[in-house]
C-alpha cells in the first residue's frame, strides 16, 4: 500500500541482479551500492483506488468461494518465491480487479501499466530473452471476454490462471479448490454500470449529437472493405467483442478487446502503445485508409468515451475501504476455523495480517517527522491494529496445533474489535494519517527528497 512501488522497484533491482549474476550481492551491507532507479516513484496519488463491483452483491452477498478467491488473489504466497519476497500478488497488477496503470517494474516494463510476462524476474525458465511487455488488462467483465491473454491463447479462464501461477510466476501448483476460488472471484467482477448503454449496446438517454454520429460511424462499413466495420469486431450487442483474434497491423494476432469501461483501461493495445482514444482512431484511420474527417474523429472519440464510461470508477482509499476488504477476507475464517482447515487459515492470517500491517503504517509513529499532532490518537490506532495482527497470529497458531475452540474464541474477540472499536479508533486518528491528503503529500515529498539525494552526482 504505502511503499509498494518503492518496494517493487527496489526488489526488482535486487532480484534482477540476482537473476543475472547468480549469487551476486544485491543489497550490499556496506551501503554503497543500493541502487534505486531514477524513475522510482512513490505512488503519490495512490489515494484513489479502482472501484470493484461484484455480480453477486447486486442480489445478495459474496459466497465463501468468491471471498476465498479474493483472498488468494491478494496473497503474494500464491505466486512463488520471488513474488512472495516482493509482496507481489495478482492484486498488485490487477488492483481491485481493474488494471494498475501505474505499475512499473524496471527491466520488466516498457512504460507504466505494462509488464513482460516472459521476462527473467519471476521465472527464468519462461524468459524469452526479449523485453516484450504487454498491457496489464482490467479483469472487469472477464467472464464475457474469452479467449484470455492479449493473443487469446487460452480458451478457458481456469487454464489461463493456472498458467499465470505455475508458468509465468513459477509458483507452486495451486490446489484445485484454490483455482476454483480464484476463477469464481474473477467471474464475479462486473463491469461498472454505464447508464448510457441500453439493450444491444446502443447508446440511450441523453446522447449528444456528436456521440450519435460516432455511433453511426462505428457501424459504417470501411470504404475499402465493406465486410469490415468497427462494430463488426467490437460487437455492441456482445460486450463489444467478437471473441476472435485479428491482425490489425499492430504486430500479430490479438483478441478484440472490450470497449466497456475502456475509458479507464489506458494505455491501449496489447503493448500499451497508445495513451488515448484519439491516437487509436488516428491509427485505424491510417491503417485502414478510412478517410475520416477531423469531425469524424471527434465524433468517434465522443462515442468511445460514452461507451467506455462507468459509474464511480474510483473510490477514495481510506481506513473504511481497507477495513471493508479485510472484513470480506475475514469471512473466510468463519468457515475455515471450525473446519480446522490449516492451509486456508494460514493463507487468511498471512494475507489479512499483511494488510493490517500496511494499514498500521498509514498512521505514522513518533519517529516520522512529516506529521505532528494527534500523537495519542496515532499511538492508539497503531496499537489496536497491532493487537489485531497478533490475535490473528494466535488463531493461526491455535488451528495449527488443533486447538480449534481456542481459535474460535480468539476469532470472536477479533470480530468484536473489528465491529466497532477499531473503526472508531482509526477514524479518530484519520486527520494525522497518510489518508489525509496534506499529511500524505508531506510524507511522500520528504521521502522523495531523501531518495533523490541518492542520485546527486558524487
Amino acid at each position: 500500500m504505502n511503499s509498494l512501488r518503492l518496494r517493487l522497484t527496489a526488489l526488482a533491482c535486487g532480484a534482477m541482479a540476482v537473476a543475472l549474476l547468480g549469487r551476486a550481492v544485491a543489497f550490499p551491507v556496506d551501503g554503497n551500492k543500493t541502487v534505486l532507479p531514477a524513475t522510482t516513484e512513490l505512488n503519490e496519488d495512490a489515494l484513489d483506488k479502482p472501484r470493484e463491483v461484484f455480480r453477486s452483491e447486486i442480489t445478495g452477498s459474496k459466497s465463501y468461494l468468491v471471498n476465498l478467491g479474493d483472498l488468494a488473489f491478494n496473497s503474494p504466497g500464491l505466486l512463488g518465491e520471488v513474488a512472495r519476497q516482493a509482496g507481489v500478488s495478482c492484486g498488485t497488477c490487477h488492483v481491485n480487479g481493474a488494471n494498475n496503470a501505474k505499475f512499473f517494474m524496471p527491466k520488466m516494463s516498457s512504460r507504466p501499466g505494462t509488464f513482460d510476462t516472459t521476462g527473467p524476474l519471476f521465472n527464468p525458465k519462461a524468459d524469452n530473452l526479449v523485453l516484450d511487455p504487454v498491457r496489464i488488462p482490467s479483469l472487469r467483465g472477464a467472464r464475457y471476454l474469452a479467449p484470455y491473454g492479449a493473443d487469446g491463447r487460452f480458451a478457458s479462464l481456469r487454464d489461463f490462471v493456472h498458467n499465470v501461477i505455475t508458468n509465468e510466476f513459477a509458483g507452486p501448483e495451486p490446489s484445485p479448490a484454490t483455482l476454483d476460488a480464484i476463477v469464481a472471484y474473477i467471474q464475479d467482477i462486473d463491469f461498472l454500470p454505464n447508464q448510457d448503454l441500453g439493450p444491444g449496446g446502443r447508446l440511450v438517454g441523453k446522447i449528444s449529437e456528436s456521440e450519435r454520429r460516432g455511433e453511426a460511424l462505428f457501424a459504417k462499413p470501411f470504404p475499402h472493405d465493406a465486410a469490415m466495420s468497427c462494430a463488426g469486431c467490437h460487437v455492441p450487442s456482445s460486450g463489444f467483442v467478437d471473441h476472435q483474434q485479428h491482425d490489425v497491423g499492430s504486430g500479430g494476432l490479438f483478441k478484440t478487446p472490450t470497449l466497456r469501461n475502456a475509458d479507464f483501461n489506458a494505455p491501449y493495445f496489447h503493448d500499451g502503445r497508445f495513451d488515448n482514444f484519439k491516437q487509436v482512431i488516428d491509427y485505424f484511420d491510417r491503417t485502414f485508409e478510412l478517410g475520416l474527417s477531423a469531425q469524424d474523429k471527434l465524433d468517434l472519440v465522443a462515442y468511445l468515451t460514452a461507451v467506455g464510461d462507468g459509474a464511480q470508477p474510483y473510490e477514495r482509499d481510506g481506513a473504511s475501504a481497507t477495513l471493508k476488504e479485510i472484513n470480506d477476507f475475514s469471512t473466510v475464517l468463519a468457515t475455515a476455523i471450525p473446519a480446522g482447515d490449516k492451509d486456508i487459515v494460514a493463507l487468511a492470517v498471512d494475507t489479512i495480517g499483511r494488510e493490517l500491517r500496511e494499514l498500521t503504517e498509514q498512521y505514522p509513529d513518533r519517529k516520522n517527522t512529516s506529521v505532528s499532532g494527534g500523537e495519542q490518537q496515532r499511538v492508539v490506532a497503531r496499537n489496536s491494529l497491532k493487537e489485531l495482527v497478533l490475535t490473528l497470529r494466535r488463531i493461526d497458531m491455535a488451528v495449527a496445533a488443533g486447538r480449534n475452540a481456542d481459535a474460535a474464541t480468539e476469532f470472536r474477540n477479533y470480530r468484536y474489535l473489528m465491529a466497532a472499536a477499531v473503526p472508531a479508533v482509526l477514524a479518530s486518528a484519520e486527520p494525522w494519517s497518510l489518508f489525509n491528503q496534506d499529511v500524505h503529500d508531506q510524507h511522500y515529498a520528504a521521502l522523495r527528497q531523501v531518495m533523490q539525494s541518492k542520485h546527486l552526482p558524487h
Binding site: 518496494r7 544485491a26 550490499p28 551491507v29 551501503g31 509482496g87 519517529k367 517527522t369 472508531a424 510524507h443
Partner: protein
C-alpha cells in the same frame, strides 16, 4: 458514542493485562545484569559518533561512513532499552524521513549526497549519546520496561524491510535487524529466561526457539534473501509467546507502542 467505543476497545485490551509481579526479585536482578550490556552498547554508539565527528572534520568520507555504521550498530543493539525507557530521545535520534538531526539526517548527507558536511549534526548526536551514557549508571531499569521494549522490537523486526526499511540510503537495514535481534536475545536470556523456565519451561523453550529462528532468517547474505513471510510469522509468534510470558511472570501485558503507562 465515539469515545465510548474507543474506551471499550482499550478496556478490552487492558483486560488482557496480567497481575502483580511474582518473582519480582529475580527479574529485577536480571534487569541489573542487563545494565553493563546497555552501557557497552550506548558506549560504542558514542565512540562511533565521536569518530564520525573527527573523520567528518578531516573530510574523510569513507572513514566517516565507517564510523557512522559502527555508531549505528551500537544504537540498534540498545533499542530494547531506548524504545522502552527514553522514547523521546529515541524519536529524536532515529527520526525520518526528513530528519534535521539524528542518524538519518547524517546518513542522507554521507551516503546520499556524499558530503562530509555533518559537523553540526554529528556534534548534536555526540551530545545526545554522551548525555544518555552519563545517565545509564543510575537510571532505574525495570523488568517491565525492558519487557515492553523487547516486545515492541520483536514486533518491529517483522516489518517488511524489503524496500530497504528506514535506513534506505545506507542499505544497513539487514544489519539493523541483526543488531535488534541480538538485543532481544540478550535481554531475554539475561532477564527473563530462567524466571520463566521455573514457572513454564515449555514457554521458555518456545521463546528461545523463535529467537533462534529469527537469527537464522536474517543470516542471509543480503536483504532480498531474507524470507519476509517467515520473518513476519516468526516475529509475531515471538510476540505472542512473550505476551503469554508476561502473565506467567506476573508482569503487565506489554503494550506495542511506546506510550506512558
Amino acid at each position: 458514542m465515539h469515545r465510548m467505543r474507543v474506551a471499550a476497545c482499550l478496556a478490552l485490551l487492558a483486560a488482557m493485562a496480567g497481575a502483580r509481579p511474582a518473582n519480582a526479585g529475580a527479574l529485577e536482578e536480571g534487569a541489573e545484569r542487563y545494565r553493563p550490556y546497555l552501557i557497552e552498547g550506548v558506549g560504542s554508539a558514542l565512540a562511533g559518533a565521536r569518530a564520525l565527528q573527527e573523520r567528518a572534520a578531516a573530510a574523510d568520507l569513507p572513514g566517516a561512513k565507517k564510523a557512522w555504521l559502527s555508531a549505528r550498530a551500537g544504537w540498534e543493539r540498545s533499542e530494547v532499552f531506548t524504545a522502552g525507557f527514553v522514547p523521546e530521545l529515541d524519536a529524536q535520534i532515529d527520526a525520518w524521513p526528513n530528519a534535521d538531526s539524528g542518524f538519518h539526517a547524517i546518513e542522507a548527507k554521507l551516503f546520499g549526497a556524499g558530503s562530509t558536511d555533518v559537523a553540526a549534526d554529528a556534534a548534536a548526536l555526540v551530545d545526545h549519546l554522551n548525555d544518555l551514557h552519563g545517565k545509564l549508571r543510575d537510571i532505574r531499569l525495570t523488568s517491565q520496561g525492558l519487557l515492553d521494549g523487547t516486545v515492541r522490537l520483536a514486533y518491529e523486526v517483522g516489518e517488511s524491510k524489503a524496500d530497504g526499511g528506514e535506513s534506505r540510503i545506507s542499505g544497513t537495514s539487514l544489519d539493523d535487524m541483526r543488531n535488534n535481534i541480538a538485543g532481544i536475545d540478550f535481554a531475554y536470556h539475561t532477564i527473563f529466561s530462567s524466571a520463566l523456565n521455573t514457572v513454564d519451561g515449555k514457554l521458555d523453550e518456545m521463546v528461545s526457539n523463535r529467537i533462534e529462528r529469527l537469527q537464522a532468517i536474517v543470516a542471509t547474505p543480503d536483504l532480498p534473501h531474507v524470507d519476509i513471510a517467515d520473518l513476519r510469522r516468526t516475529s509475531e509468534e515471538l510476540v505472542v509467546a512473550l505476551q503469554g510470558a508476561s502473565a506467567k511472570l506476573g508482569l503487565q501485558r506489554p503494550t506495542l507502542e511506546a506510550q506512558a503507562r
